[in-house]
């Protein structure tokens, strides 16, 4: 604070800074509020989807058990066959309140399904049921994963924004205000100094003038008492023509 010279120019500069900081603070607060609202929405959606998913999962496992009962032990065969992922996830980016959120979408490559021959011996229908149930579960899981990543990203963004709001509020703006206070105080001080100096000088001049006047008066009184003419040219307000009488000089006759 002490490095800032207290000039009017600096005062203007810092006033501008204050305006910018206050404006920025307001905007950031708005952004933080918007993010908070979105965050709450996501939190609710996640809670709902997760409990749905739990129900779906138990349904899917149950159908798996049923299939085992019907088709025998096919688990090993599933894992041993050649595997090409038929379902994939596409990673997209969604922009929410100025924050980029990752989003997953289910993506079917359309490749041939593996293990088509699994249920041929028995329990084929049950195995198909297992496939369906798990596919639905998978869809929900992909959605949930999307929500989860968005949630975490939003969380981070919210934290960062809040941090910046607090920094502006508690550090930057008070600092600028302190500088402005200092400058205006110093400027006032300088003004007062000038003022007092001026007054002092004026006072001295008054004293000088008064002394001169006193001297002049004293001289006048002396001259009057003695009757001597005052020397010419001494004082401006003296009547110099009084020294000259009209009858002193001879009339000039042609």
């Amino acid at each position: 604070m002490s490095e800032v010279p207290p000039t009017r120019m600096n005062q203007q500069i810092f006033k501008g800074k204050l305006k910018a900081a206050v404006g920025g603070h307001k905007l950031l607060k708005k952004k933080a509020d918007a993010l908070k609202v979105k965050f709450r929405d996501y939190a609710k959606m996640i809670a709902e989807t997760k409990s749905n998913m739990a129900a779906d999962a138990s349904g899917a496992f149950f159908s798996l058990t049923q299939a085992e009962y019907a088709a025998g032990n096919f688990k090993r065969k599933v894992a041993e066959g050649s595997l090409q992922a038929r379902i994939r996830v596409g990673a997209g980016v969604d922009n929410v309140a100025g924050v980029k959120l990752p989003v997953f979408s289910k993506y079917d490559t359309g490749a041939v399904a593996d293990n088509q021959s699994l249920g041929l011996v028995g329990g084929g229908k049950k195995i198909v049921a297992v496939r369906e149930k798990f596919t639905i579960l998978l869809e929900n899981l992909i959605k949930l994963a999307s929500l989860q990543t968005s949630f975490m990203t939003l969380d981070e963004a919210l934290k960062v924004t809040n941090r910046r709001v607090n920094a502006l509020e508690n550090v930057t703006i008070p600092k600028i205000e302190a500088v402005l206070d200092y400058i205006s105080r110093e400027l006032d001080e300088l003004e007062r100094e000038d003022f007092t100096r001026l007054k002092l000088v004026q006072g001295k001049k008054q004293v000088e003038i008064a002394a001169e006047n006193a001297r002049k008066d004293a001289m006048k009184r002396e001259a009057l008492l003695e009757g001597t003419p005052l020397p010419i040219g001494k004082e401006n307000d003296e009547d110099i023509t009084a020294a000259y009488d009209a009858n002193d000089d001879q009339d000039v006759v042609f």
Partner: protein, 115 residues
């Protein structure tokens, strides 16, 4: 559009079988995107598989059974990337328990109060 990322799965036999039937399994000469965790599967192996999945750029989601997630909780705790994202799912023997899921904890904390 890009080919798309895979869904990896670390789970017990039933879980993995189910998802393989749904079509997420992908096995090539180099690597596969799933790990079947049996009774005798050692913890370091699970950890290694998880770390491997997280460092692969072609995996978007990692599904993991909740009871297995608890076993490698210390690894999961330090994991903060957005992609691949980790999703905990229940298994046949261990139904879903929201108290153990880190994300649900955050959600509940934010919404105020437990479910």
């Amino acid at each position: 559009m890009d080919v798309g990322k895979l869904v990896a799965i670390i789970g017990d036999e039933d879980t993995v079988t189910g998802f393989l039937l749904a079509g997420v399994g992908h096995r090539t000469a180099e690597a596969s995107n799933f790990l079947i965790v049996k009774q005798d599967t050692k913890l370091p192996q699970i950890e290694q598989a998880f770390r491997g999945f997280t460092t692969r750029s072609d995996i978007g989601i990692i599904l993991i059974n909740q009871h297995i997630a608890n076993d490698i909780r210390h690894v999961l705790k330090d994991y903060h990337e957005t992609i691949p994202t980790v999703l905990e799912i229940p298994s046949k023997e261990h139904p879903y328990d929201p108290e153990q899921d880190y994300i649900m904890q955050r959600v509940n904390m934010f919404l105020g109060g437990t479910f």
